[in-house]
């Protein structure tokens, strides 16, 4: 008998079908990975198991935990099961904790709810659970509030809450998506250890194939509310019988074809950053003392030649976006200067030089918030015309719009649509079109593909590569996803705590990292092939034994 059996689960919300005939099985002590694109129904499957479905949901099929059918459980019985038999960890560690309760209280609550222990005992158990997830007493006393903790630490608290009572089943819904790679690696290791120690079943939901290859014994691939393929990890990846699995696999390891760029040393660099410092003012601590400062970018210098693609990597909060904003002259800088094509663009003394501004454009991470929802596409993408002395009008304007749209693979007729009529990938294309329309020499891409599904991400990377070949535009490509950076850039810079710690041609850095931090970063990055081979070897060893 399996620990968890889901049989022909069908779910609809207000009549809208969400899940169709989902069947999944999981043994104790094993990890089931569920992968699939955004909206494919991964979370809803998990919520069905928890019986925490949104209003208007109707479901049919069978869900059994240890042979006990959840179909027959009343809400009261479900309350007894949640937290006790099934623990759950959610994606967003920043909001998953109650901000006004101490972490001790929140962990102990699980225990108090389900067992008759005294508060003191519950606190003791909570303490132990926190110790287990790597939050030792001396640094993390029980009376800490969540806002004193980092994202990874909060995620540990959430995990401690879920495992406090040693549940039979743990469901983790994208538990690391919001964390940077090094923290992700720690959390995944922790989960793996807990599964082994408690002989717990783990359902791990993710969209990252590499993570799942590393973690899961069995994998289910979901698409549009259906499980399209399911099986043991290694054979599933090796065989890839379903075309969707195959597409997914290919997309996640996709490397766009690129020409190598010749650098013309005679021309001035597209952008030259010299000793830039950016301080954020901290809130005043008292009326009379001067406000404190936080140095987010610390003496950074960099150069990008015409046609060159440069990557900037580093963990969350290291100052990547701040540097971008400085290069775009969106914020004033407190030291150093920035030149575009040899002309002074901004410096610590003065504001930006408007004339140069048209040399640089940007594409942001979130395709949803990058556009004013009230404007049509033609108006959206022509916004940078504002920077031109004689903005084109009439037929010429139309022509430029059409060519920008076709450049990014959209149709001319899309110009009259509103932004909500497009998918995320299409929106990101429009964002690129907007950046291209005044033919800048540098485009800054701040996490431009991070929010996209793998298959769409692959398309956008192709597009970017193609554009850079055709138009000789330079990119400053910022991402925390090393594999993407590796795929698209010529040169890479590694940033840590506001400083650039390593720099060099991309392949060199990836193959032969010099700085300890770079090494750590690379080690923590899950890589699909490597994970698969490791698993294969392990399984092979196990079967031989």
């Amino acid at each position: 008998m399996s620990l968890l059996e889901i049989e022909k689960l069908n779910l609809s919300i207000y009549g809208l079908p969400i899940l169709r005939d989902v069947s999944l099985f999981l043994e104790a002590g094993k990890v089931l990975g569920i992968v699939g694109e955004s909206g494919s129904g991964k979370s809803m499957t998990a919520m069905s198991v928890m019986q925490l479905l949104p209003g208007g949901s109707e479901w049919s099929g069978h869900i059994r935990l240890d042979g006990r059918s959840l179909n027959e459980c009343s809400e009261k019985e479900m309350c007894r099961i949640r937290g006790n038999d099934i623990g759950m960890v959610f994606q967003e560690p920043m909001t998953a904790l109650n901000p006004v309760q101490t972490i001790g209280d929140q962990v102990a609550e699980t225990i108090l709810i389900h067992t008759g222990t005294s508060r003191r005992d519950a606190m003791a158990i909570a303490r132990e659970a926190l110790n287990r997830v790597g939050l030792p007493e001396d640094r993390f006393p029980l009376d800490r509030y969540p806002h004193n903790l980092s994202g990874g630490q909060r995620q540990r608290v959430v995990i401690a809450m879920a495992i406090a009572l040693k549940p039979r089943l743990l469901i983790a819904d994208e538990p690391t998506t919001a964390l940077d790679v090094t923290t992700q690696a720690q959390i995944l290791t922790l989960l793996k250890r807990l599964v082994e120690e408690d002989d717990m079943g783990l359902v791990l939901i993710t969209h990252d194939l590499a993570v799942v290859a590393d973690m899961a014994d069995e994998i289910a691939i979901m698409k549009d509310g259906e499980v399209v393929e399911q099986g043991k990890t290694v054979p599933l990846f090796r065989r890839m019988s379903h075309p969707y699995t195959k597409a997914l696999f290919e997309a996640s390891g996709h490397v766009p074809e690129r020409k190598t760029h010749e650098i013309d040393a005679a021309k001035p660099p597209v952008v030259q950053v010299d000793d830039v410092i950016r301080d954020y003012a901290l809130p005043r601590t008292s009326l009379f003392s001067a406000p404190g400062r936080f140095r987010a970018v610390d003496n950074v210098s960099l150069k990008i030649a015409r046609g060159e693609n440069v990557g900037l990597v580093g963990e969350s909060g290291c100052g990547k976006s701040t540097l971008t904003r400085a290069i775009l002259a969106l914020d004033s800088i407190q030291g150093g200067e920035i030149r575009l094509n040899g002309d002074l663009f901004s410096s610590s003394g003065g504001g930006p030089n408007i004339k140069s501004r048209r040399q640089v454009q940007v594409v942001f991470q979130d395709p949803y918030s990058s556009f004013n929802p009230r404007h049509r596409v033609d108006r959206l993408i022509t916004e940078p015309f504002h920077l031109l002395d004689n903005p084109p009008t009439g037929a010429e304007r139309r022509e430029r719009i059409v060519s920008a749209l076709t450049d990014v693979g959209l149709r001319a007729s899309d110009a009259d649509k509103y932004i909500h009529e497009f998918s995320g990938g299409q929106r990101q294309r429009i964002a690129i079109a907007r950046a291209l329309i005044i033919e800048p020499s540098l485009i800054v891409l701040d996490e431009a593909v991070s929010a996209l599904d793998v298959s769409i991400r692959a398309q956008i990377l192709d597009l970017l590569a193609d554009l850079s070949d055709r138009l000789a535009v330079s990119y400053l490509f910022i991402s925390h996803d090393l594999s993407v950076v590796r795929a698209i850039t010529d040169r890479v810079m590694v940033m840590k705590a506001g400083r650039i710690v390593e720099e060099g041609p991309t392949e060199d850095v990836f193959l032969n990292p010099q700085h300890a931090y770079t090494k750590e970063l690379l080690a923590a990055t899950p890589i699909l092939d490597a994970a698969l081979s490791a698993r294969e070897a392990r399984e092979h060893r196990n079967s031989e034994r």
Partner: protein, 289 residues
């Protein structure tokens, strides 16, 4: 709450959800009723409200006088129609003052977030809030004398910080949106961005708040008129009708019930409409339904 309009989408589909929102529909119909009464009163009323007919005073509702007659024998129904005009005009202009003065202030404060100017604007707002509204209204009328204009000013002043705060709060969260950054990258200045990107996207929020302030304005006008500081005779005003007949609660209830109901229903209508609009504009709630 401040997030509601920020995800707003263009008009398409709003009409449909409006028709499906009962609170909006009830509110809209009630509001429409009073706006119509006010508009029609310009062309036609059953009886002239400036003509007194003292022998005919305090008549109970009848076929001739649907709502009865007041202390001077005037037709209460006609007075309520004309009074609607006054209430709506006073509240509308007062809200107008609040929007015209408050929204730019709020947008400016948001654009210069963290600057001294922002601080000054926000502290100024707090200061206005610190003064008890009715008292200031009384002081203003003590300085300038009672009358519709001064009532408008008094009510309007208190609308300014309401809108300034609302606009600032909403604008601040929009200023962090990527599309605003994109506009800055396109070289647009603060004023231009405020006008092109911020204002249109907080419009929904302003409309909802405007409806609510409008209803508060009607209540405030009634309150001022009740203490004798609002609109002056011979123009009828609902609040003054209540004040002038307050001693006739028992003797001639029609004189206080109908103007009172007029206030209640109008305010109710506007509030329901505001609530409905909020639901319609707020995609989060829409999804939940």
């Amino acid at each position: 709450m401040s997030d509601m309009s920020l995800n707003s989408r263009p008009a398409s589909g709003l009409l449909g959800s409006a028709l499906r929102s009962p609170s909006f529909m009830i509110g809209f119909l009630l509001t429409l009723l009073f706006v119509l009464a006010a508009v029609i009163s310009f062309f036609w009323v059953p009886y002239d409200v400036t003509v007194l007919n003292i022998p005919n005073k305090l008549k109970a509702p009848s076929l001739e006088h649907w709502f009865g007659t007041d202390i001077f024998g005037r037709d209460i129904f006609s007075m309520i129609m004309v009074g609607a005009r006054v209430s709506i005009a006073v509240a509308l202009v007062a809200v107008g003052i609040g929007i015209v003065a408050g929204v730019p202030l709020g947008l400016l404060a948001a654009a210069r977030h963290g600057s001294l100017l922002d601080e000054v604007i926000m502290r100024g707002n707090d200061l206005v809030f610190a003064f008890p509204a009715l008292l200031i209204a009384i002081m203003i009328t003590a300085v300038f004398g009672p009358g519709a204009i001064n009532a408008i000013i008094a009510i309007g002043i208190f609308n300014i910080p309401v809108f300034a705060r609302l606009a600032r709060g909403a604008a601040l969260s929009l200023w962090t949106r990527d599309y605003v950054l994109a506009a800055r990258v396109a070289g647009k200045g603060q004023a231009r961005i405020s006008a092109e990107h911020i204002l249109p996207n907080i419009l929904n929020l302003l409309i909802v708040q405007g409806t609510i302030q409008f209803s508060l304005g009607i209540l405030a006008e009634a309150g001022l008129a009740f203490v004798g500081l609002g609109t002056q005779p011979p123009l009828p005003s609902w609040g003054r009708m209540l004040a002038e007949h307050q001693t006739l609660y028992a003797l001639a209830p029609q004189t206080v019930i109908f103007p009172g109901l007029a206030i209640v229903l109008t305010v109710l209508g506007l509030n329901l409409m505001g609530d409905g609009l909020r639901d319609i504009f707020d995609p989060r709630l829409r999804r939940a339904r």
